[in-house]
Subunit: 641 residues, 2 copies
């Protein structure tokens, strides 16, 4: 919205109508929380006046919810869902009644914390401290796409204790995301009581100022002050934080400034007293009846993402004599994808980095397409969320990092990305025991074992530069969250028995399928990523000892499809060869499948069973008895050969 | 150290000796990194002058490393290990030569990033942003114990982009940890280049000031300025941040202010040039020889923890007719432990909370023993590390939180606690699908599946208040990190067939053992935590249908000892009943054990296979077909009964 239109909208605000609507919202909030006997009325009522004003001004309505140019309203303290649902209903985005009647009812879409699957909700929150990062994601996507919109981010005061907000705040200023306006619901109370007792050293205003924000202070229950601040924020060339002083439970005298109403509803008796004070008709009985008749809806509603159109480009083929690292192959594929998707008809590919571009090989994009590259500094929590939110706002996000930081450090942020049905492509390098000499703090030996806990988050561990190239293009095209993991060192190109490239131009990537690299009948060695070429070496050693083993590439070690599983189960002896914790990687997948399919399999795991130490990659393999020589020796022993 | 002694020490500093020592350290740094062809010389050289000065002043020597009154030197940017090792050797804490010769060699203790297992290193770092939180942990432990010491925390400048540091900074001011002095090595460069390009909106000094710190600026290569600032910091009644302006690669002209030397060693040619400029004898050849002769040491050196002496107290027994929640039983046991360990001969029990004391039931301690209770606000990352570090500085730490925040949000911090051989007791509530109506963002259905990726981090899921009581006392007494998980709702007391309390005064807790709650011969239902009493209900339903099933409590679902496994494997039909993701909980443990022991087991899992939704606990169980009735029905069907 241009400034003049915005200014006109502000000038045209009908304050008495706003006040009346806010009153109705307060009634809704009380009714739904008392009915559900659960929920957060206090903060819902302290935020409602500003929230409702913003919904009345912003360019958001039921017809433009998929328009990339719509304004965005993020609510970071997702527990004020009663306030949000009520505003959305007043705007005609949600149907009346249902959100009141079915609030927090098992099977209803009106969950305790706001969910992106609800029309008008931009991001599922509830875990605090995430909203501003998500808003930054929408802002950068808009920037890349040339969309113009305003972004409002509602936040609690207590949640500012989360460090991630500092990261997001600085990012917003660095990238001049001046279309972002934060509104802090400063009711000065959190669960444990007065915010100045819980964290007296936190000065929210000074924190914003020290990171370069403009800060405004208003009475959050005075519509004229609210409107004035929003106008001022609109005209400001920096991101603005409006600190709205409010009262917990505002509107009902016995609730005001009481921390106990943060997360507890009124009793029925209190409800009737409150509604009386608000001069509203009580509606509890009506909704009680309605709630009784509720039938479970589909339990798993997914949010709808904007359509994407990705040009996958042409494969880069690495010949059999090339020796490069998978990271570099990723960098090359990524650079290609960014380039060929620049034309307007395609969806932009955007890259997020946390101070490791040179190591994770996104520096080609940084250099050639700086407008598609976001250097976030050492701020992984913010970055994971920002990249996730960008991916549902009109771009494809690649977030590349060391495994330790992109997975272990931000596991929960990735989980939230999946809950948000995001479309992030997480590419990690330096995984497993191929991290170089940095030592155990940097060794991500759980790069499968963690994300396997997130339903539908796909995990791919390509084996060589050719497979990397195809997998990166595959992930860019497919909707959904992907984790693509690779080591640090140079690896040989995987070849067929005849010496030709295995993952050649005819190779088709199917998630869940396996590749038979070498065919044998005495058993099979299953490997992925950094262990696959080593498994081929094992195969050769075994062959020289008269043992004929298959080598199977399981590039999706957390998910094997039925056809592939049956092939694996057909071998009389299986060894998995992993640079990962033994009990949570591929072996774990096979164990789970064998048990649930009631299938007996003879399988042994060669994996990591302790925190490894610093050292050159080959040395560490050797030290953990994972060198091809030692693995072959153990197989020979076990086979009694 | 009292102020007068400190002041005398400062006055007695021999600056020319310091300068000479710093020069030798620079030589060491260059030799070891060039020799290892790996490492971080740049930041090591920029920090060395302040670091060496602090080592010369602080009350740290090889004889007092286990004295709780020693001063503490934390190094948060653990990649400057060459500088740290060199200082420790100059102080006589590490033997000469070895750290140079064996730096970053596989099997050597001198890893790429500093490790707590090295004498004189207080905390393993490397993952950035952790050091100040760890220092706060040492400070609060000291406070509780009445120890008096100073704490120095060395930090990089770029690492301040991590939000966790904001959390730690505020905590330090809230608890008046004025014995903490932070020294920021402000060389203005990080991997990606100039810090003011990477994150121009970050103003480190203003950030500290806005959180209530005193900030001093010095030339970090001027010993007099360094000494002056340390003296000033010592006298200050607030935590002090000294921003030391330094030069990356300081001392060697061609390295100065070059970002490329952050993480890359000199070539041999450059090495000789640098050593010549420093007027030092090159020693590369000597150490090359020594390195050649290196033999692997024990791969897994554990840091030594201070002795603890915990009075476990007497069991609280909940009678069969009591119905309370496990959280409250935890709260009661904890309160008892805090109280009975107050006498000087015992180790203090300290509690950390993130704004949820009322829900996780640590509020009894908050009220009665506020000096043992630390309210950290909504700052889980800081809190996890702070509690971990406190636990190796003379107290026992209990960190209680919702599962989602204590596990998912801070997985990596818990991993770092384990790497640090910490002694944290993580107690989580609201796990599984028993969280109330908060919805999927708050449902921790991976409370086993995540921490099973951390070797030796023990996971216990007690089933009723009686088992909670014994398990909490058990974990307090045992060295090592524990995760004890529980749901939100009230649960019945588990009883024997005769109606008497199962986990009575004679019950002995063994980690890895199982409890046969009901004995049957047709098969077994394995359960833990919130599903155990439901499994007893299943047993009763099955019985009424003529099926006689055992009910087995597997309170350590990630680890089953051999005896227990053999018992389980003896059943012809097993069902696991879990409020956890099906593939990463108990079923996963059994699958792994069956596969690796080549044992065929017939086992089916009833668990969680999608993100659940809001709802009352019983409703959610029902919706996911996990109510006792539905589970019994499925068993009956599968048994063909």
């Amino acid at each position: 919205m241009d400034f003049q239109s915005f200014s006109d909208k502000i000038a045209g605000l009908d304050y008495s109508r706003l006040e009346q609507e806010a009153l109705l919202c307060r009634g809704d909030i009380l009714t739904m929380t008392t009915l559900a006997a659960s929920g957060h009325p206090g903060g819902s009522m302290s935020t409602i006046d500003v929230l409702l004003t913003v919904y009345n001004i912003a360019n958001v309505n039921r017809n433009n919810l998929h328009d990339l140019n719509r304004d965005r309203i993020f609510v970071s303290h997702g527990h004020i869902s009663p306030a949000v649902y009520s505003c959305l209903a007043k705007k005609g985005i949600l149907p009346q009644d249902e959100y009141i009647a079915y609030f927090r009812k098992a099977g209803s879409m009106y969950e305790g914390h706001i969910e992106r699957s609800i029309p008008g909700v931009e991001w599922t929150t509830g875990n605090l401290g995430q909203g501003l990062s998500a808003a930054c994601g929408a802002a950068v996507a808009g920037k890349v796409n040339g969309n113009e919109f305003d972004i409002y981010v509602f936040m609690g005061d207590g949640e500012h204790e989360k460090g991630q907000i500092t990261e997001a705040r600085r990012f917003a200023v660095k990238y001049n995301l001046s279309n972002i306006t934060v509104i802090v619901d400063y009711n000065a109370l959190q669960i444990s009581g007065d915010i100045s007792n819980v964290m007296p050293s936190m000065n929210i205003a000074e924190s914003y100022k020290s990171d370069g924000w403009e800060v405004l202070h208003i009475d959050g229950h005075n519509f004229k002050e609210i409107a004035g601040a929003l106008l001022k924020a609109k005209s400001c060339s920096r991101p603005v934080c409006i600190i709205a002083e409010t009262s917990m439970g505002s509107g009902v005298s016995f609730m005001e400034h009481k921390a106990c109403f943060h997360g507890a509803p009124l009793s029925e008796e209190q409800y009737y007293e409150a509604v009386k004070e608000l001069k509203l008709e009580p509606s509890l009985e009506k909704y009680k009846e309605m709630r009784k008749g509720f039938m479970w809806a589909a339990p798993h509603i997914k949010a709808e993402n904007p359509k994407i159109n990705i040009n996958q480009g042409s494969r880069i083929i690495y010949n059999a004599d090339v020796k490069t690292d998978n990271r570099s192959a990723f960098g090359a594929a990524l650079l290609d994808l960014v380039k060929i998707n620049k034309p307007k008809e395609y969806t932009d590919v955007v890259v997020f980095d946390c101070d490791l571009a040179g190591s994770v090989k996104t520096n080609g994009v940084e250099k050639n397409y700086p407008e598609n590259f976001f250097q976030c500094g050492i701020s992984e929590h913010h970055t994971a969320v920002c990249a996730g939110a960008a991916s549902v706002n009109g771009v494809i996000s690649f977030f590349a990092d060391f495994g330790m930081f992109g997975v272990d450090e931000v596991y929960n942020q990735q989980r939230l990305n999946e809950i948000n049905s995001a479309n992030i492509k997480l590419v990690t390098t330096h995984v497993g025991i191929d991290v170089g000499e940095d030592g155990k703090t940097h060794m991500c030996i759980d790069y499968i074992g963690l994300l396997r806990n997130i339903f539908d988050f796909k995990i791919i561990v390509p084996a060589d530069p050719n497979q990397v190239d195809i997998v990166i293009r595959h992930a860019a095209k497919e909707q959904g969250n992907f984790h693509i993991a690779m080591g640090r060192s140079k690896v040989p190109v995987i070849t067929k028995e005849d010496g030709s490239v295995f993952f050649d131009e005819n190779y088709e990537y199917i998630y869940g399928a396996i590749d038979i690299i070498r065919q044998g009948s005495d058993g099979a060695v299953l490997a992925y990523g950094s262990t696959l070429y080593r498994a081929v070496q094992v195969h050769d050693i075994l062959k020289s000892k008269g043992l004929n083993f298959s080598v199977i590439n399981v590039s999706c070690p957390a998910y094997i499809n039925d056809e592939a599983f049956n092939k694996i189960a057909g071998y009389k002896k299986i060894f998995t060869y992993e640079d990962h914790i033994s009990s949570t990687g591929l072996y774990c997948t096979i164990a789970n499948m064998a048990l649930s399919r009631k299938k007996f399999i003879d399988a042994t795991c060669f994996g990591v069973n302790e925190f490894p130490m610093s050292g050159q990659s080959d040395e560490v393999y050797d030290m953990l008895s994972l060198s091809p020589e030692k693995v072959a020796e153990k197989i020979i022993k076990e086979m009694g050969a």
